[in-house]
């Protein structure tokens, strides 16, 4: 399964991934227009400070045994049978926050008013997710765990 990995050694925590993610999930898909949208576009990726001069960009890990899918009481959070990605169907979401309760990465965003959640969908309209493309240090990587392991050791 291909998903997004972050090489913490390379990440500067600059936040380019966050911005690219929010724009990609906006109506206009343009920075200057998207900041005027209502509701404001929401990012599904976070650049997080780890310790001095260490950062990580993190989001949904599409876990093999996804705790959010197990906990979801409405069936809105589910595993795509073909891709094994964790997907979210907002039309079935009831805003029970079971996924927020169980996500080990804090990767599910709650929309209080709408009573639904959002998370990484791996940018279905693009070849490469927006965050990976926007990453200036090439710490973000799209591929399998095997490929990521190989690239990190070289």
């Amino acid at each position: 399964m291909k998903k997004i990995y972050c090489n913490i050694k390379k990440c500067l925590g600059c936040g380019s991934c966050e911005i690219a993610c929010a724009i990609e999930h906006s109506k206009s898909r343009e920075l200057n227009k998207s900041i005027a949208e209502s509701p404001l576009p929401v990012k599904r990726r976070k650049a997080e400070f780890v310790e001095e001069s260490v950062s990580i960009s993190t989001g949904c890990h599409h876990c093999e045994n996804a705790a959010c899918v197990t906990a979801c009481m409405s069936g809105a959070m589910y595993k795509d049978k073909k891709t094994a990605l964790t997907q979210h169907d907002k039309d079935r979401c009831v805003g029970c926050w079971m996924c927020i309760m169980t996500c080990p990465f804090g990767a599910v965003t709650r929309l209080r008013e709408e009573k639904i959640v959002l998370k990484c969908d791996l940018c279905p309209d693009r070849d490469k997710p927006a965050c990976v493309e926007a990453c200036q240090t090439k710490s973000l990587f799209l591929g399998t765990l095997k490929e990521f392991t190989k690239i990190c050791s070289t």
């Binding site: 976070k46 009481m73 927020i100 996500c103 080990p104 709650r110």
Partner: protein, 429 residues
């Protein structure tokens, strides 16, 4: 190979899916005394409230049994298990053979032994049928008495308030949600619920449900009487162990399961609200009658029925509830009973924020977050993996706390964080 499953809710459904990932062809028979069991039990109060439409209640599509090649015996009760002959007697005296059996019979509402409980207009809230029956009499109802201030009692109260009824909740103990959260958190929740017009009476219990054939009120143990046309009983649940017990399968509070979710009998497994397993925080045998535990146990039991060797690490109490826009989530031990436990608390009364972490020997065993619930899953992960959190103790309740802050613990941890998803952190930090 013939698999048989008794009970077709969270545990049974997840077992079917798990079996089918490994065994595409063998026969699976499911026996369910509910006629339409593919709904989400957790959502029946949402349905009663009218906050979801009738479509969202369905956890799996109509075609689920067909898609998974399951023979579903619906509206039929499993009466008896013969463990020697490996067969089950069902309602119409037919016998069903099994090679592997899963008992996923769930739990039933505790019905109190109070006079008048059999009157028309008294309901527990456990099945979609209860919801339909309650709904069908709502036109004639002005006032409702809810007996019990637990999760289900309050969800019912919320639902009926949403339907425009006068709702009063009678709670025997001193505070609401006492099984799940502490007094401080309960106080914040109670205030919000009362502000929105639901009356809550703590320290009061019903002595009798009054009326001729139909309910006309409840007599309380403080001597007063409360008029109502509908009574909802929310006094918790007890596991449906009888069928297992009668067959000679080892039970205590629930059916005793080992770490493969097998019962004391070869080839017979158990999962969900009926099964008693290791509680990760308590470190003792217990039942956590919650949806996520039922689903995970169903999955693991299903896999092991096909011959896999999956280990169930145990369950953790966890609940997520929201009333009138105010959410609360709790995980693990939230009301420690000895001074071996330490608590870290952060409050912001103006914002209705309350956060508490319970520690034992440097390891988190429980957490409550009110209103600011983001990232609580990270705390839950620390509980599950029993990570020593001494180094991050002072920042865990801060707003900026996130996954990045636990990355060093994951890297250092020797016993936990085995899932492949943590490799990225362990490898590159």
């Amino acid at each position: 190979m013939q698999y048989v499953i008794i009970g077709s809710s969270a545990a049974g459904i997840n077992a079917i899916e798990a079996i089918r990932t490994k065994d595409k062809t063998s026969k699976i028979i499911i026996i369910s005394d509910e006629k339409n069991p593919l709904y989400s039990r957790c959502l029946i109060s949402y349905l009663l409230a009218g906050t979801i439409d009738g479509k969202k209640i369905w956890y799996k599509p109509d075609s689920f049994f067909k898609d998974n090649k399951v023979e579903a015996l619906l509206g039929i009760k499993a009466e008896k298990i013969n463990i020697k002959k490996k067969e089950i007697a069902i309602g119409n005296k037919e016998k069903i053979k099994f090679d592997k059996l899963l008992i996923a019979t769930g739990a039933s509402p505790k019905l109190e032994d109070i006079p008048g409980i059999d009157k028309k207009g008294v309901f527990p809230l456990r099945t979609i049928e209860h919801t339909t029956e309650i709904q069908s009499m709502l036109d004639k109802v002005k006032s409702v008495a809810v007996l019990g201030g637990g999760l289900i009692g309050l969800r019912a109260a919320y639902a009926l308030k949403n339907r425009g009824k006068n709702v009063s909740v009678f709670v025997k103990s001193g505070s609401i949600l006492s099984q799940i959260i502490d007094k401080d958190a309960a106080g914040i929740m109670q205030k919000r619920i009362e502000e929105r017009g639901i009356k809550i009476f703590t320290g009061v219990a019903a002595k009798e449900i009054t009326g001729a054939k139909s309910v006309d009120g409840v007599a309380l143990d403080n001597g007063s009487k409360h008029d109502c046309e509908l009574v909802i009983i929310g006094k918790g649940v007890s596991p449906n162990v009888e069928i297992a017990k009668d067959a000679g399968i080892k039970t205590s509070w629930g059916i005793l399961a080992n770490e493969r979710l097998r019962t004391g009998v070869e080839d017979i497994f158990t999962a969900g609200d009926v099964s008693e397993t290791n509680d990760i925080a308590l470190e003792e045998s217990s039942i956590n009658a919650i949806w996520p535990a039922a689903c995970e146990q169903g999955r693991i039991a299903g896999l092991n029925m096909t011959g896999e060797n999956e280990t169930y690490e145990g369950s953790l109490a966890m609940n997520s509830i929201e009333f009138f826009g105010l959410p609360v989530i709790s995980v693990g031990i939230t009301k420690p009973k000895s001074d071996r436990y330490k608590e870290i608390v952060k409050k912001d009364a103006g914002k209705n924020i309350y956060k508490k972490i319970v520690l034992k020997d440097g390891i988190i065993v429980g957490v409550i977050f009110v209103n600011s619930i983001e990232n609580i899953g990270i705390i839950g992960t620390l509980i599950k993996n029993k990570a020593d959190v001494t180094s991050i103790k002072d920042i865990m309740l801060e707003d900026y706390f996130d996954y990045g802050k636990i990355a060093p613990l994951i890297k250092k941890s020797k016993r936990g964080f085995k899932e492949p998803e943590f490799k990225e952190t362990i490898m590159t930090l």
